[in-house]
Symmetry: C2
Subunit: 183 residues, 2 copies
C-alpha cells in the first residue's frame, strides 16, 4: 500500500446502503493539516470479459444503462458476488450474457474505473475457445442484452465513430489492436 | 439516443446531493413489464489529459485517492465545472496538477467509466508542446500530487507490473503504444 499524501479519516458518515453500492462522506485531515470532505461510493468490484470466437470475432452486448438513460455497446461484464473469485464471475457472466462457455480464460489486468469517487475495481479477462452452450442459462432476471459479434476492424471503427463509448470496451479494442500489431 | 431495452422511470428517490456526486434510486419498468430498482450516481463529468513533453515523456501524477485508501499513479484529470467546456477544464487541470501549459491540445475520445452505476463521462485529450509555466498556479487547495515523467517503455512496464491500476491511464499507455506501433 502506498500512502503518499495520506488523508486521515476523522469521521465517516454513512449515507446510503443499497443492494449494489454504498455511499459515505468522510471528513479527512489533509497532508497540510487542513480538513476536507470526500464523497465516496463503495462498490463490490466487477469483471469484464473479452470473448473471442473461433472465427476471431469479438462478442459484445448492447444493453440499456439506466444511469445514462440509453443503451450502449460493451464487452460482457458483471458485478462480483460477495466472496466470489473474479474468474468464477467472469465465466458466469460470459454464459449468462452471451450463451457462450469458454475453454480458456486468461486474467489480463485489473484497474480502478473512477478512483476519484468510487472504489470499483474491474478485473479484465480474455476468453478463448468459445462454444455456444446448448441449454444456456437464462439471462439474469433483469438483464436484456442484444449480442453483436464484431471483427477487430468493425470494433475499431465503432470506437472511432464513438458508437463504443465505454472505457473497458475501448481498452479491449486497443488491447486486441496491439496484439495484432505485434504479430 | 439509442433506446433498445429501455427502462421507463416510474419514480425517482433522491438519496444524496453532495458537492460532487448525487445519488438516487429509480424504480423502473423493465422491457418485460416487471419492476426493478436502479441505484444511480450522477457525476458532472471529467477530463483526463495525456501530456507529452518535448522529450517524448508522459507526465503522470501520483496522488492519494480516498475511495481506495491509497495513492495511485494516473494521468492528470479533473472534474468539469458547471457549464465548462471540456477543453478549458483540460488546460486548467494540466496547469494546476503539473505546472505545464501546452501549445496544442487534441480531443481523442469520450467514454463512460462505470456505466452500470454512474453517468460519469470522461473526455480524454492529448496535450503537446508542453512548457513549464514560470508562475504556475498553485495546486488546488486540496490537491497534493507528485509528478512523474515516464518514457513509453517505463509506462508500459508500470502497466504490466500493475503499478498503474487506473483505467484511463491504461487507455493512455495503450493509445501511445498503438501510435508507436503504427509509425
Amino acid at each position: 500500500m502506498n500512502n503518499l499524501f495520506e488523508e486521515k479519516t476523522i469521521r465517516t458518515e454513512e449515507i446510503f446502503k443499497g443492494k449494489v453500492i454504498q455511499v459515505q462522506v468522510d471528513d479527512v485531515e489533509l497532508p497540510d493539516g487542513k480538513m476536507g470532505k470526500r464523497e465516496i461510493v463503495k462498490h463490490p468490484g466487477a469483471v469484464a470479459i473479452i470473448p473471442i470466437t473461433n472465427e476471431g470475432k469479438i462478442v459484445m452486448v448492447e444493453q440499456y444503462r439506466k444511469p445514462l438513460n440509453r443503451s450502449i455497446v460493451e464487452i460482457p461484464a458483471g458485478k462480483l458476488e460477495p466472496g466470489e473469485e473474479p474468474e468464477t464471475t467472469a465465466r458466469r457472466e460470459l454464459e449468462e450474457e452471451t450463451g457462450y462457455v469458454c475453454k480458456k480464460i486468461t486474467p489480463l489486468i485489473s484497474f480502478y474505473t473512477s478512483p476519484g469517487f468510487a472504489n470499483e475495481l474491474l478485473h479484465v479477462f480474455l476468453a478463448e475457445g468459445l462454444k455456444k452452450k446448448e441449454n444456456a442459462k437464462a439471462a439474469d432476471e433483469d438483464e436484456f442484452v442484444r449480442l453483436e459479434e464484431l471483427s477487430l476492424e468493425e470494433a475499431a471503427s465503432y470506437l472511432k465513430e464513438q458508437r463504443i463509448m465505454d472505457v473497458k470496451t475501448a481498452y479491449a479494442v486497443q488491447y486486441l489492436q496491439l496484439k495484432e500489431a505485434r504479430k
